[in-house]
């Protein structure tokens, strides 16, 4: 009996007991589907997030104050003197309100220093960004994020007109494009000097961003910046500080730790459902062996060896579980497709995922099919033929 004939026989058996086969496969279907969805989503999300982050430049280090008075203007100057620091910008942020006279909204008010435009690269939809030359920093210009502009019901012809920020008149010079997260929230960008006046918090800054000369210097600059600031505030390396130094590299590594935990957890769920699915297959195969005892007897009588019976039942278990695995693969990829669409990253089917899904289901079929197949092959022909 060759493998092809055994395979055909297995298919016809499964088709003959459709409902039962489908119910049996369910465990494997769920296990493989969650495995596939998890892997595809994790891959898609990782590449989506790293794309978004590396778009902002992997060379940047952010020092953020954990209180409103955590960092001062002088810290910016000191940090900019560090070796391998190419440029710096700082920002002052807080809650604010904006008003066109007709509509009032509350939003985040961010005051940015001159280098912001060249380092953070905000995308302008209409108009221009804030002036970056020093004398103009005192200007009362404002740029709105797309969301803020939308909330305020700003029309294109209103560029150049006056809007009120915290009750003070500002000239609206531009609106940002809703890309890379710049326009995602309601934000009004003003110059740092203007913001300081509004918040009355000279000489404090909320955060400082440093750009290192190359990506390889990021780690060194991160450490140096931390040491320098601790020195300025008289803190030892172990004291808790009123600032935090982070880089995208450290952000990415935090992200990957979170992702690994997630993978482990979902992987655990997938393995448990695969094991439960395998037990389901073992159970139904044992039932099948019992039901087909006479048939096994007849097959032994007309010349089937123990091994041929074993292979027959093993193939049936594997076909059952791989079929379940295939259905699970399709459902899992389908789920991943919709998640990718919702999350806005590219959907890809990786060969590794397909291989893993089918490989795992085949493995489950073999592992849980062996016991029933052995039971079938060890039946005594005489007793099997007599079985009612």
């Amino acid at each position: 009996m060759n493998l092809f004939a055994s395979f055909n026989l297995a298919i016809s058996r499964i088709m003959a007991t459709k409902t039962r086969s489908i119910l049996t496969m369910l465990g494997i279907v769920i296990g493989v589907a969650s495995l596939v969805a998890l892997m595809s989503v994790a891959q898609g999300a990782t590449s989506g997030i790293s794309n978004a982050l590396s778009g902002l430049g992997a060379k940047q280090i952010t020092v953020s104050g954990t209180s409103a008075t955590g960092l001062v203007e002088d810290d910016v100057t000191a940090l900019s003197m560090l070796p391998y620091v190419e440029s710096t910008y700082s920002q002052v942020s807080g809650q604010g309100t904006a008003s066109t006279g007709k509509v009032d909204v509350s939003l985040s008010l961010v005051g940015v220093s001159p280098n912001y435009a060249s380092m953070a690269l905000p995308k302008i939809a209409v108009g221009s960004f804030l002036p970056s030359s020093l004398p103009m920093q005192a200007s009362r210009d404002v740029v709105l994020s797309a969301v803020a502009a939308n909330d305020l019901n700003i029309k294109v012809e209103q560029i150049g007109q006056i809007i009120y920020i915290n009750g003070q008149p500002f000239q609206l010079v531009g609106v940002l494009n809703d890309a890379n997260g710049f326009g995602a929230r309601g934000i009004a960008y003003v110059t740092q000097d203007a913001a300081r006046k509004i918040f009355a918090q000279t000489p404090y800054v909320s955060s400082i961003t440093l750009q290192s000369t190359t990506e390889t210097d990021v780690a060194a600059v991160t450490t140096e910046a931390d040491t320098l600031l601790r020195g300025r505030y008289g803190l030892s390396a172990t004291d808790s500080a009123q600032f935090m130094v982070t880089s995208q590299t450290s952000l990415l590594s935090t992200l990957s730790t979170v992702q690994n935990t997630l993978k482990l957890m979902l992987g655990g769920i997938a393995s448990i459902s695969l094991i439960v699915g395998g037990i389901g297959i073992m159970n139904i195969m044992l039932v099948s062996v019992r039901e087909r005892t006479r048939e096994i007897g007849v097959r032994r009588a007309i010349g089937a060896r123990q091994r041929q019976i074993l292979v027959q039942f093993l193939i049936e278990a594997v076909v059952l579980s791989v079929l379940g695995g295939f259905i699970g693969l399709v459902l899992g990829e389908l789920a991943a497709y919709f998640v990718a669409k919702a999350g806005g990253w590219a959907f890809t089917i990786s060969a590794g995922t397909v291989g893993l899904a089918l490989g795992f289901s085949a493995l489950v079929g073999i592992v849980f099919g062996v016991v029933p197949a052995r039971t079938a092959s060890k039946l005594q022909p005489v007793e099997a033929l007599r079985f009612e």
Partner: protein, 231 residues
């Protein structure tokens, strides 16, 4: 004439817990090639045990069983299966066709187990089925065949490996008398064509087709008569 089956002082006991039942005791018997033998007895006489031993499905507790020249005591399970596959063609009372399997594939299956390629196995199966007048039933499975047709497919399956012996267990037991006669006529024809046939039955009418009747009673041979002289 060479002997196809030879039993010598055969005893078969079954042990269930502490109870030992003797199913066959001190049976000695020789079946030569070309014979048509009926083994007759009431239920519990040891008929089934006899069939299992002759059919290489079971081994004796004591004594010697040799089939087609092989002593079954010497054979392991695989070798016994292989002997069964080559020397014995089984015909069962309830036909025992494989479910959801066409007549053609039922007949081809013993060849597939022997390792014959599918195409050749099907070709040989078709020849035998055509010979038995079932050429228009090749694709039907057992639910689409009458009892008589099923038993003819079963006989085709028994013949396809060209065995030394066709072993039929109550071949007419599940058939009406007319169809039963047709099946017995077919077995008679096969025997006339040179095939050794052994029929296990409790039915004297069936036994009358045979040239030699062996009566079993309580696990022993009570009579062994040749009703016709064979050449």
């Amino acid at each position: 004439m060479s002997s196809v089956v030879s039993l010598s002082s055969v005893r078969r006991e079954y042990t269930l817990g502490t109870n030992t039942t003797v199913a066959l005791d001190d049976v000695t018997l020789d079946i030569a090639a070309g014979e048509f033998v009926a083994i007759i007895g009431p239920s519990g006489s040891g008929k089934s045990t006899m069939m299992n031993l002759i059919g290489c499905l079971d081994r004796p507790t004591r004594g010697l069983v040799s089939v087609a020249g092989y002593d079954v005591a010497d054979l392991d399970d695989d070798a016994l299966t292989s002997l069964r596959s080559q020397a014995i063609g089984f015909v069962f009372q309830q036909f025992q066709l494989l479910p959801r399997t066409s007549a053609l594939d039922n007949v081809a299956t013993p060849l597939l187990y022997q390792g014959v390629k599918q195409r050749e196995a099907r070709q040989r199966a078709e020849e035998i089925l055509t010979m038995l007048g079932l050429s228009d039933r090749l694709d039907n499975d057992r639910t689409q065949l009458s009892g008589g047709q099923q038993q003819r497919v079963a006989i085709a399956r028994a013949l396809v490996t060209n065995p030394a012996l066709v072993l039929a267990d109550e071949p007419t037991g599940a058939l009406d008398s007319t169809t039963g006669r047709q099946v017995m006529d077919l077995l008679k024809d096969l025997n006339r064509a040179g095939r050794t046939v052994v029929v296990i039955t409790h039915d004297a009418n069936v036994a009358n087709y045979a040239d030699r009747q062996i009566h079993l009673l309580d696990g022993r041979i009570s009579s062994d008569q040749r009703t016709k002289v064979t050449a």
